[in-house]
Symmetry: C5
Subunit: 304 residues, 5 copies
C-alpha cells in the first residue's frame, strides 16, 4: 500500500519512462522534419484528437473504476480475515469450557491460535508466490509441518488441521455440538476469504479490454503532434509530453491497482495486516512478548 508521504517522483515517473522517452523522440522528430523538410501536409483539426481524448478518458475512467474495485475488494477480504481471526480467538476462549482448567487446554488453545497466525502469514506468502518463511514455521509444531509439507495449498492444509482440532474438542467434550458448528462456520468464512484472494490473484483482467485501450492511447498520442504543430510550433513538444505523461500514468495506475498481490508497492499490505492480527491474537492470549507493529520508516513510501 502506498502511503501518503514520501512518494518519490522517481517512483511515479519511473513507471512511464520508456513510453515518455519514445513520445519525446517522436514529437521532436516531427518538429525537425516539419522545419527542415516542409513535407508534412497532414495538419489535423484539433477536434479530432481532442474528442478521441474524451473517449479515452471515459474508457480509462471506467477501467480504473474496475481496477479500484478489485483493489478495494482485496482489502475488504483481508479486513474480513482480521475480523474472523479475532472472532475465532474469542470463540475459542469463550466457548471451550474445562472444569479442571488444565494446562493441556491452555496449550491446545495456544497451538490452535498460533496456527491461525501462521495461516495469515502463509496465505500472504502464497498469494505472492513465495515459500513459507522460517517465522511461519515457528508457529507450527513439527507434526503440523510434516502434514503441511505434503500439500500444494498450505493455507488450505492449515484449515484442515483446524477442522481436525475442532473434532477433537467435540469428542473430548470441551465444546458442545452447537459451538463446534459455530467455530466451523468461522473456518468456512476464512476458507471463503482464502478462495476470494486466489480468485483475484488468478483471474487476469480482461486482456482484450486492456489491449484495446493501450492501442487507442498510442494512436491518440501519435496523432497529437500533427494537431498541435500549426498552433504551437516547437512548444508542441512539451505539450505532447505532458499529455502523454498524464494518460500513461492513469493507465499504469489502473494496471497496478487491478493486481493487488504482486509484491509491488501498490499491493494490499498483507504482511502488515498479518502482523496486526498476530499482535491482536497474542494479546487476547495474554502473552507479554509481542512483536513490533510493521510501520513505515521515515523514508519509506509504502507498506507491504
Amino acid at each position: 500500500m502506498l502511503l501518503k508521504k514520501n512518494i518519490p517522483l522517481k517512483y511515479i515517473f519511473g513507471k512511464v519512462k520508456y513510453e515518455v522517452t519514445f513520445v519525446a523522440i517522436y514529437a521532436t522528430c516531427i518538429v525537425i522534419w516539419d522545419k527542415y523538410f516542409h513535407v508534412i501536409n497532414i495538419s489535423i483539426p484539433l477536434s479530432v484528437p481532442m474528442v478521441l481524448g474524451t473517449v479515452l478518458s471515459l474508457l480509462l475512467a471506467f477501467k480504473s473504476n474496475q481496477a479500484y474495485d478489485r483493489w478495494w475488494e482485496a482489502r475488504i477480504i483481508w479486513g474480513a480475515i482480521v475480523n474472523d481471526s479475532r472472532t475465532l480467538t474469542r470463540q475459542l476462549l469463550s466457548f471451550v469450557s474445562d472444569p479442571y482448567v488444565s494446562v493441556q487446554l491452555k496449550e491446545f488453545q495456544d497451538r490452535f491460535i498460533n496456527r491461525q497466525i501462521a495461516w495469515c502469514y502463509a496465505l500472504g506468502q502464497s498469494l505472492r508466490n513465495k515459500p513459507i518463511t522460517e517465522e511461519i514455521r515457528e508457529y507450527l509444531t513439527p507434526d503440523e509441518l510434516v502434514f503441511v509439507s505434503k500439500h500444494d495449498n498450505i493455507p488450505n492444509a492449515l484449515l484442515q488441521l483446524h477442522g481436525r482440532d475442532l473434532k477433537e474438542l467435540l469428542e473430548e467434550g470441551l465444546v458442545n455440538k452447537y459451538q463446534q458448528i459455530e467455530l466451523d462456520k468461522t473456518l468456512s468464512r476464512l476458507c471463503d476469504s482464502m478462495g476470494k484472494c486466489e480468485r483475484i490473484k488468478n483471474t487476469v483482467f480482461p486482456v482484450t479490454y486492456s489491449l484495446y485501450i493501450h492501442f487507442s492511447l498510442f494512436f491518440f498520442i501519435l496523432l497529437m503532434p500533427f494537431a498541435l504543430l500549426d498552433t504551437f510550433g516547437i512548444m508542441e513538444i512539451p505539450m505532447v509530453i505532458t499529455i502523454a505523461i498524464a494518460f500513461f500514468l492513469i493507465e499504469k495506475m489502473a494496471i497496478h491497482l487491478q493486481d493487488p498481490f504482486e509484491n509491488k508497492p501498490t499491493d494490499t499490505p498483507v504482511t502488515a495486516i498479518a502482523r496486526t492480527i498476530e499482535i491482536n491474537l497474542k494479546q487476547m492470549l495474554n502473552e507479554s512478548k509481542l512483536p513490533e507493529k510493521i510501520k513505515a520508516g521515515e523514508s519509506d513510501y509504502y507498506l507491504l
Copy 2:
C-alpha cells in the same frame, strides 16, 4: 480466460474482419466516387460524427461495464464453488465421527467427495451444452450413473444424491443433527451457485440494447468518410478503418464478456477450476495420485 501472453493479432482482428473489410471497401468507394465523378456534395461538419462518437463511447462504456459485471459474476460464482467444495470436504472429514474408524466410513467419504469432483466437472460441461465425459463417469459408481441418467439436469441429480447420503449419515449416527443441517447448508450454497450459473447462461443480454448500439455504430461509421473527405482526401481511408476497428473491437469485447459459458477463449475457465478443485480435494483425502494442474502451454493464449 484469455492469458496475458501470446494473444495472436489474428485472434484479435479475426473477430472484426468482415466488418472492417466492408468499411474499407465502402471508404474506398467514396473516395473514388468523389475523385472521378465529383458528385458528392454532402460534406458534413466534423462535429456531427464526433459528437455521435462521444455518445456511442458512453453507451459502449456502459455496456462493456455491464458485460464485465456478468463475466466477473460468473468468475465469483465459480470461486464460491471452489470454496464450498473445500468446505464440504473439510466438514465431511471433521464432522463424521466413527469410534471404530471403519473402512466403510473411509469408502463412504471417498465416494461422497468423488461425487463432488464429478459435480464440478459435470456443471462445467452442462453449462457448455456438452455431455458428461468418460472422466466424470469414473468418479461415479454404477448406481449413481444409473440414477443420474434419468435426469435432464445432471448436477442437480448429483446434489440430490449428496442429500440422500447425508440422510444416511444421520440415520447411522455418524453425524449429529446439527452437523447434518450444516452440511445441508453447504449443499444449498452449491445449489445456489449452480442456479446462478444457469441464470447467466440462459438470460440473453437485453437484445434491443445491443441492436440499438450496433445500428448506431454502423450509422456513425457510414457518416465518417463524408466528414473526413474534405480535410484528408485519400488519407481518409486508413483513418476511417482505424476508427472502425477501435469501435468494433470494443463492441465485440463486450459481446464476448457478456456470455462467459460458450466454449470460447474468453470463457470462465471452468475446466481448469474444476481441475484445481479435484487436486485440492484429493490432497485433503490424502491421495497420492494427483492429476496435473491445467496450465497453458507455451503457445497457448487462453485457458478453458
Copy 3:
C-alpha cells in the same frame, strides 16, 4: 425475454412509430416553410443541439443503467426462486425420515412439492395481474383451493400452508426440530423473493426523472432542424428522423426494461422459469410424466 433471433423490425420500430411520424412531419414542414416563405431566420449553431445531445445521452445512459438493474434484479430473484425450490425439495426428501416408508409420507411429500410448483406459477400470474389458471388448480387439493380462495395474496397463502405442513411434520416426529427450522428458513427465503418481486412491480420508477428526460428529448429534437437546415437543406429530414429514432429507441428500451412484470416481450420469462422448476421438481420426485420445456418456436422472438 427477447431472444437473440427473429426480432422483427416491425416490433422494434413499432415502439416509436407515433413519435417518429410526428418528427417526420415536423421536419418536412420546416423545410417547406423555409423554401417557400423564407421567413425562418433562427439558424442555430450546430454546437447547441449537439451538446444538448451529449447531456441527454448521459442522462439516458444513467437511466438505462438503472432500468437494466431493475430488470437484472428481477431475473436474479427468479433465479433464487429456482434455487430455493430445488433446495426445498432436496431438504424435504433428505430430511424427512420415516422408519415405515409409508405411502402416506410419499403422498405428503408429493402434495408439498406440488404446492411449491403451484406457488411458482401463481406468483408469476399474480405479478402479471392475472387469475390463477386451471393448470395451477390441478396442483392443489380441494382443501387448499378453498383456503386459498379467501386470500387476496395467493402465493402468500400457499406459503402459509407450507408452514402449516411443516408444523405437522414436526408434531408427527418426521423431522427433528433443527430440520423444521432449516425448512422454515427456505420458506423465509421464498417469502423474501416474493416480496422483492412485488416491490419491483409496485414501485413506479421515479416519474419526474422520466418526465424530465422525455421533455428534454422533445426539445432537443425540435431544435435539430434549425441547426441542420443551413448545412444540409432537404437532406435535413432523413438526418433528423434517424437521430430521433436512435434517441427514442433507447428511451423506450429503458422504459421496457424497468418494468419486468407487465406481460410484454421484454418481461422476465416467469412462465418458462416456472416450467423449468416444474420439470426439475417432478424429476426429483421420480415422476415419469414430465411436461415439455417451454421453448421458443421457429418464428417466436420472445419467451414469456
Copy 4:
C-alpha cells in the same frame, strides 16, 4: 411515491418557480441593457457555457444516481419489512404448538401480530416526525401503551415487547429453544430495517457536494445570456429560461429523491405499505374485517 398519471404541471414547475422567475428577469434585463445602452461588450464564445453545461450534467447525473440509490434503498428496506412481517406471522402460527388449542394462545398470537402491525405504522410515523395516531393505539393493549409512552423510540420499545413475549413463549413451553432463536432472528432483521431507515433519515447528503453543484449551476445560468445574445438577440430569453428549467428540475428531482421520509409526494409510501402489511397479516389470522387498501383516487398523483 409519485404515480404515473395525473401529475399536474403545477406540481412539477412549482418546484422551480422562484429560480425560474429570477432567471427570466435577469435574462430580460440583459437584453434591455444591451439594446438601450449598448454597453455590454463581454460576449462569451458559446463553447464556454456549453462545456460548463457538460461538466454540470456529469455532476448532476452522478448526484441523481446517488439520490436514486438512497431512494431505492429506502424502498428495499420497506420491502424487507413487508417480508419479515409476513415471515414473523407465519412463524408465530406454524411454530407455536399447543396441544389444548387454547383460547389464550389465539389471543396471544393476535396480540403479538397486532403489535407488529402497530410497529409498521409507528415506524412510518416516527420517520416522518409525527406522533403515533389513534389508529395505532387501537392495536396496542393499555399495558403496552403505558410501556411505550416511556420511550423516545417507540418502534424500538415495541420490538422489546416482542422479545419479552418470545421469552414468555419459551418459558411456557409453547415454542422450543430453536424456534425462539429463529423468531428472535426475525426480530433482529426488523431491528436492522428500523435502524437503516433511521440512518437514511438522519444522515444529511454531503452538503458541500450539493452546495458546489448549486453554485456552479447559478454561475452557468448567469453566463448563458452573454453567450446567446449575439446569435439569438431577444430569442435569448426563452432559450435561457428553457435551459434553466431543465437543469433546475433535475437538481430538484435529485434533492427530493435523496430524502425519502419527509412527508412529500416523492416519499417512500410508508403508510400504504403499512396498510398492505396490515391486510396481509389480518388475512393470515383469518380475520374477516379487513381495512381497505390505500389506493390513489381518481385525481391523486401520489401515494403516501
Copy 5:
C-alpha cells in the same frame, strides 16, 4: 457530519484559500506581463483547456463517487453498530432467564450493557486516535479497566470481556446453548463492524490516483489564462479564479469524504451516534436518568 444549515462561507472557502490565492496572483501576473511587455505569444485555442476540463470533471466525478462510497460505507457500519447494540440488549433481556429474578442478574445485565455503551464510545475515540475519556471509564468496573489497560486495541478487549461473560452465563445456566451461540453471533457482527471501521481508517485512498488528478488540475489551471486572455482581457482574472474555486472545491470535498474518521466537520458523527445508542440502551434498561441527545446548537454547522 455537516448539517444543512449555518455552513459559514469561511469554512467552505477556507479549504482552498492557499490554492486560490496562488491562482489569483498567477493570473494577475499573466495579465500584467501581457500588457506591459507584450511578450506572450502563446495564445491557446479555448478548446484545449476546455476538453481538459471535461476529462478532469470525469475523473473528479469518479473520484468523488468512490469517496462518497467510503463515507457512506462508514455511515452504514455505524448504523449496523446501532442495530447490533439494540439487538444485543434485547437478546440479553429476553434470553436470560432466572427463576429467582435475582438482584445479581439485574446487575450482571447492567454491567454487560454498560460495557456495550463504553465499547461504542471507545471505538469512536480509537478511530480518531484519541484516548478513552473519563466518561467511558465510568461505564467500566475497576477490574475491566485493569484488563483493558493491557491491550492496545481497547474495543477488541471489551469484546473479549463480553465473550467471557457469555461463557459465565452459559455455565451458570442462565442462557441455554443456542442462546449463547446467538449472542455470540451478535458479538461477531460487532467485531466485523469494528474491523470494517479500522479498514477504512487505515487504508489510504490510492495515492497515485489523487496525485495524478492534482497534477492535471494544476496544469489545467495554469493553461487557462493563456486561453482566456485574448477574448476577455483583464476579465480573465475573475473567470480563472471562479473556475479554479469550482474545481478545487470539488477536489477537496472528495478528499474530505474519503476519510470519515479524522476529527473533522465532515466526519461520520460517531460521538453523536454513540450517544443515541447510550440513550436507547438505558431506556431499554428502564433507567430514568438519561443523558441529553447531542444536538447541533443554533450556530453549529456540524455534528461530531
